[in-house]
Symmetry: C2
Subunit: 135 residues, 2 copies
DNA sequence: CATAATCCTACTATTCCGATAGGGTAAATG
DNA sequence: CATTTACCCTATCGGAATAGTAGGATTATG
């Protein structure tokens, strides 16, 4: 299941991407338009800023804006930042690899084998979808 | 993330599928060989039995066995039974559909659009993978 | 009947998610 | 230079879901 954090993050990003490039979008605006808790959204956008997806300007007339072109923002990046691993099992994760404690041998593990297939297909979609595709 | 329930379930199924068809496999055997808590595994196999994937025989010499051919057991069936929806968001689930409470319009929702893509690709893998492929 | 196995119900400990609260810090405007 | 506006950070908390536990009921075999 996709967490609301990620869900809200994607919604917010598309909302920002719809505006003209130089426009600064405020938290309160997105919060109202997309029915997202103001404070929760605040932390999400902050995370995206730290990840280098968004830029922010403080003070009067400030807000968030895209740093790159929408077509350069891959969904892999967004989801890894907010959700964590894309793989359904740590032992097949590319960016968050962890050995399964219970599994003696990855090579012969049926779950491992299957989840690599799933991961590759999911990655294919997320790598080829950018923010521009969702607007 | 895949729950341990599903993970253990797949491991147990492949273990059973490796045996000769008429052999009854006991919980205790799988539990020992695959490092799975006996009681936990018990509830998992029971669920798979109710779903029509496994058959069971009680009493001495009893145990679990496959009802269909391994090549007839699709991963979609196994995962839907143990994990629930395959989709990452209820509003794109085929078997467990639910409207998102926060989303006013599915048609224009960016998350919806993206997650349909992911779901279709995942489904493609899981529908074309059977227990026989994992043994 | 004794034994060996599955079946069933209920409980618990832990973890994580979604959200809230409350303030602190920085930067534009007048 | 003060005031407004918005970003930044920490801490907390209730509820739901997971993972596992406990104990007994039921059924088949020898």
């Amino acid at each position: 299941m996709l967490s609301k954090k990620t869900k809200y993050g994607i919604k917010a990003l598309t909302f920002i991407a719809k505006q003209d490039k130089e426009v600064k979008v405020q938290i309160a605006t997105i919060s109202k338009e997309e029915n997202i808790s103001h404070k929760f959204l605040e932390s999400i956008l902050l995370t995206l800023k730290k990840a280098g997806v968004l830029g922010a300007k403080k003070g009067k007339g400030g807000g968030y804006y895209l740093i790159k072109e929408a077509a350069q923002v891959k969904m892999t990046e967004v989801i890894r930042t907010l959700e964590g691993p894309i793989a359904m099992v740590p032992c097949v994760s590319l960016n968050f690899y962890e050995k399964c404690s219970d599994c003696p041998d990855e090579e012969t593990c049926a779950v491992h084998k299957l989840m690599i297939q799933v991961r590759d297909n999911t990655l294919h979609v997320l790598r080829n979808t950018t923010l521009a595709d969702l607007v």
